[in-house]
Amino acid sequence: MKVRRAALWLLAPIAAIAFSLLVSSIALLLIHQNPFTAFGNMVKYGTQGNQIISIINRAAPLFLSAVAVAIGFKMNLFNIGVEGQYYLAALLAASVGAAVHLPPVLHVTLILVTAMTVGAVWAGIAGVLKVTRGVSEVISTIMLNFIATGIGSYLLLNYLKRPTAASDLATRTREIPKSGLFPSLDKLLGITNPNEPLSGFLLVAIAVGIAYYVVVWRTRFGFNLRATGLNAQAARVSGVNPGAMVIQTMLISGAVAGLVGMLYLLSFFHAYTLDFPTGLGFSGIAIALVGRNNPVGIAAASLLFAFLEVSAQILDLNGIPKEVIQIMQGVIILSVVVAYELVRRLVEAQDVRAAAQRTREPAAPLEGVAA
C-alpha cells in the first residue's frame, strides 16, 4: 500500500518530464533539429565526470534556495524575496569577510552568520509588515527585491567597492582572504584534475536539508507550521500564535536564503562581483514546487534543473539553441503542478473508499444509546 502510494506520487514528476520532452521535441522539430540527437548528446555530455561535478556545484545553491521557499510554503507563506535576500546577503557577507582576518573556521563561520543574518533581517521586514499592517508577503517580498537591488548597488558603488586603478573597470568588493574560503572536496574524494573543484559547501547544503526535515517534521514548531499551512483557523484555536509563526518562519526562510550565494562566493568568486549569479531565488520557487516541499524531492529537482543547465552547454556546440532547456523547465513546472493535483485527487478518492470499506460498521445502533 505504502509502496504503491509512493510510486503514484513519483509517477507525477516522471510524467511531467516525459511531457516536457515531448513538447521540446516538437519545438526542436519545428526548427529542423533532430530531438534524439539533441537529447542524446545532452545525456552523453552531462554524465561525464567533470560535468557531474559542475552539476552538483550548481544544484547546491538551487537546493538551498528551494528549501528557503519551501519552509514558507509549508505554512502557506510565500517568500518570493529569496532573490533579494541572497543578493544582499552575498554582498554584505563578502564585504565583512574581506574586512577581517581570522583563523579559518572562525572566518568562514563569521561570513556565513553575516549572510544568514542579512537574509533573515531582509525577509523579517516582510514578516513584520504582514503581522502588524496586514501587508501580503507576496507583494512586500517582491518589492523588497527591487529595494535590495537599489540599496546593494548604492552600497557597492559608494562604500564596498574595491579601490581600483583607473584602468581597472571591474566593480567588485575586496577579495576574501584564504582563511575565509571554503575548501573543496576533491582531495577527500580523490578527484584529480577536475575542470572545477567540487565545493565543500555541498556539505552545508546537505546539513540544511537534514535540518529542514527535522525542524519541520519532528519538532513542535514544525507541527505548528504545518498545521497553520493545512488549516490556519484550526491551528489558531489549537494554541498556535499566527503572528509569531509568520515572523519566525520568515526569519528562518531568510536565513536559509542568505546561504544561497555562499557556494559561489566562498568557492569560486571570492568577492562580490557584477557577474555574480542572479535568478537563483526565482529558480528556487519552481524547484520547491516540483519537489513538493519535500527535502528529497527538492534535492532531486535541484539536480534535474542543474543537469539541464549544464548538459545544455553541449547543444550550442552542435548548433542547437540551448534555450530549448528553458522550454523544458517551463513545461516541467507547469505540468508537474497539474500532475500532482491529479494524483492528490486520486489518492484522496482511494483513501475515502478504503476507509469506508475497512470500517463498515454493523447496522445495529451503538451501545452508547443505552448508557
Binding site: 493545512l230 500564535n241 483513501d351 452508547g368
Partner: protein
C-alpha cells in the same frame, strides 16, 4: 386546488458520508404562496434548498417545477426554470453599484458594449412593480443591510425568477427591516411570485407564511396551516422526541468553581456589541448549556473564552486564576478543551493523518511532546487509545482525517479533548450533523466526563440535547444572556420563545 403546484419535491433523498441529510422529503408548494420550511439547524433545510437550486443533486427523488420534471445540474439550470435563491450571506460586490451587481453575469449587450440604459430601465420597472424602492446607481457598500437584501431579491427577479427561495432572510435584519421585508413579500405574492421561506424563527413564520412544512432530521414531519398551530406546537414538531434522549441522571455539580466569566463583552469592527455583559460560572461536574438562535453571540463567546478574539470588557477566570489576557496556548495548557462548532473549519487538519489530528490543541503537552520535540511514539500510542476508547472507526491512525465519516471525525475530536482530562471543556454543537449512533456515544462521553468532575460549557442548537444534558441553562439573545431557565422543567417550546425573543417581548408589553 386544480392548479399545478409551483414546486413539487417527491421522495428527495441525499446522503453524505455518515449522514443522511435528506430522507424521503416531500413538499408541495402552491403557486403564489409564501411557503415556509422550518426545522432546527442541521435538520436538512439547507441541503434541500441547495438541491432545489441545483447546487447539489439528490441521490433519489424527483423535482417538478410547474408540473414539469426537472434535473438541475447547476444554479444556471434552476434560474432558467425560473427558480432563484437569495442566500443568507449576500453575494454582492461592495465596490460595484446596485445596477452592476444586478446584471453581473447576465449583462445585456449592444454589440460589445453593456446596455446599461436598458438594464437600468428594467431594474426601475422591477422595483416599481414589486414596491421595492432602490436607486440602481448607488454603490452597494453604501447600502443598509435591508437594502442589500432588496438588491439581492431584484437581482434574482431580474433573471426571470418566479419562484424565490429565501434562506433565513431575517437573520441579519433589524425588526423594522423585517417589517419592510414582509411588506415586499406580500407585494411579490400579489404579483404572482412564489416564495419559499426558510427559517427557524417561528413567530415570523406564523406571520408571513401561507403554509408551513416542518423538517426534522432530514424528514418532512408535517405540513400545516399557520392558522392551525401555535409557536409551541411548531417547536414541538421541529424538535420531536424520537431521538435517543440525552438525559443525565443525578446531579454531580460541586461547589468548586472552575470557570468564572464576568461582564464579558466583544465588539465588532464597527463598534457594535456582539456580546455584552455576559456573566456566569461553571462548577466542577456541571454542564452549563447556552441556548440560542445561531448568530446571537455564541461564536464570539467561544472565541473570547479560547482566546482568539480580543475582548472589549470583562474578565475570565479559570479556577482562581485570572486568564483574561492569556494566550490561547496558555489557556489550552492550563486545561481548557475546545470542541469547535465546525469540525472542518476549526477542528481538523483534513489532509493530515489521524495521529497528527489527535495532537491538535495538545501539541505542547505530554504525551504528544517532549520539550521542543514531537514525541511520535507517545502521540501514536495516545491516538490508538482515543480510537479504541471512543470507537473511532478508521483503517488506522495513519489514515488521513478526510477519509473518515463525519461522525467518526467528531468522535476523534471529542476523544482527543476528553482524554486530556481538561478542567473546562468548551463544546459547540458537539453532535451536529452526525448520525444517531455517533451522537449517542458523544453524549455518553460527556456524561462520563461530567461525573468525573468536568466543567462543561455546552452551546447547541439541539434543544433536546441542551435540556437533556444541562444542569444550568441560559438563553442567549442579541449577545446577552436573557434568561436562566430550570433545565429540569423547561420545555423546548418555552425555550423556543426565549430564543426568538418572543418571551421577552411578552414580558415587556
Amino acid at each position: 386546488m386544480p392548479e399545478v403546484a409551483a414546486v413539487e419535491l417527491q421522495g428527495i433523498t441525499k446522503r453524505f458520508p455518515g449522514v443522511v441529510a435528506n430522507d424521503d422529503v416531500n413538499i408541495e408548494v402552491a403557486p403564489g404562496e409564501v411557503h415556509a420550511i422550518v426545522g432546527e439547524n442541521g435538520a436538512g433545510k439547507s441541503t434541500l434548498m441547495k438541491i432545489l437550486y441545483g447546487m447539489l443533486r439528490p441521490d433519489s427523488g424527483t423535482i417538478r417545477v410547474r408540473g414539469e420534471e426537472v434535473h438541475f445540474r447547476s444554479p444556471k439550470d434552476a434560474i432558467a426554470a425560473g427558480v432563484g435563491m437569495v442566500h443568507q450571506h449576500f453575494m454582492l460586490a461592495e465596490n460595484l453599484t446596485v445596477l452592476e451587481n444586478i446584471i453581473l453575469g447576465s449583462e445585456p449587450t449592444h454589440g460589445p458594449m453593456i446596455a446599461f440604459g436598458d438594464a437600468r430601465d428594467r431594474v426601475k420597472e422591477l422595483s416599481a412593480t414589486y414596491g421595492m424602492p432602490l436607486d440602481p446607481d448607488r454603490l452597494v457598500e453604501d447600502l443598509s443591510v435591508g437594502e442589500r437584501q432588496r438588491a439581492e431579491i431584484i437581482k434574482v427577479l431580474y433573471r426571470g425568477a418566479r419562484i424565490l427561495i429565501l434562506d433565513e432572510p431575517t437573520a441579519v435584519l433589524v425588526p423594522q427591516e423585517v417589517r419592510e421585508l414582509f411588506g415586499n413579500l406580500r407585494d411579490l405574492k400579489r404579483e404572482g411570485v412564489t416564495v419559499i421561506y426558510i427559517s427557524h424563527k417561528l413567530d415570523e413564520v406564523l406571520e408571513i407564511a401561507d403554509s408551513i412544512t416542518v423538517i426534522r432530521a432530514g424528514r418532512t414531519v408535517a405540513t400545516v396551516n399557520p392558522g392551525d398551530v401555535t409557536t409551541g406546537q411548531l417547536a414541538e414538531l421541529m424538535v420531536g422526541s424520537e431521538l435517543p434522549r440525552p438525559e443525565t441522571r443525578e446531579s454531580t455539580v460541586t461547589d468548586t468553581v472552575e470557570l468564572t466569566v464576568e461582564g464579558l463583552g466583544v465588539k465588532a469592527a464597527d463598534g457594535r456589541w456582539l456580546l455584552r455583559d455576559v456573566s456566569f460560572t461553571v462548577h466542577r461536574g456541571e454542564i452549563l448549556g447556552i441556548a440560542g438562535v445561531e448568530g446571537n453571540g455564541q461564536a464570539q463567546l467561544l472565541e473570547a473564552l479560547i482566546g482568539v478574539t480580543p475582548i472589549a470588557a470583562g474578565t475570565i477566570k479559570l479556577g482562581r486564576e485570572d486568564i483574561t489576557t492569556w494566550s490561547t496556548e496558555a489557556r489550552r495548557d492550563a486545561g481548557i478543551g475546545y470542541i469547535p462548532e465546525d469540525r472542518h473549519e476549526e477542528g481538523l487538519l483534513l489532509a493530515a493523518p489521524l495521529w497528527e489530528n489527535a495532537m491538535l490543541g495538545h501539541q505542547a503537552q505530554a504525551p504528544f511532546a517532549k520539550g521542543a520535540w514531537i514525541d511520535r511514539k507517545g502521540a501514536k500510542r495516545q491516538t490508538e487509545a482515543i480510537v479504541s476508547q471512543y470507537r473511532v472507526a478508521t483503517p488506522g491512525i495513519r489514515a488521513a482525517a478526510y477519509a473518515l465519516s463525519g461522525g467518526n471525525q467528531q468522535k476523534l475530536i471529542v476523544g482527543r479533548e476528553m482524554i486530556a482530562e481538561p478542567k473546562v471543556l468548551l463544546a459547540a454543537q458537539p453532535t451536529r450533523g452526525i448520525d444517531v449512533g455517533a451522537q449517542a456515544s458523544v453524549w455518553d462521553a460527556i456524561r462520563r466526563a461530567r461525573a468525573a468532575g468536568l466543567a462543561l460549557l455546552l452551546i447547541s442548537a439541539d434543544l433536546e440535547e441542551l435540556i437533556g444534558l444541562s444542569d444550568t441553562l441560559w438563553v442567549i439573545f442579541g449577545g446577552r444572556l436573557v434568561a436562566k431557565v430550570d433545565a429540569s422543567k423547561v420545555t423546548p417550546e418555552e425555550l423556543g420563545l426565549y430564543m426568538t425573543g418572543a418571551k421577552q417581548r411578552e414580558a415587556a408589553s
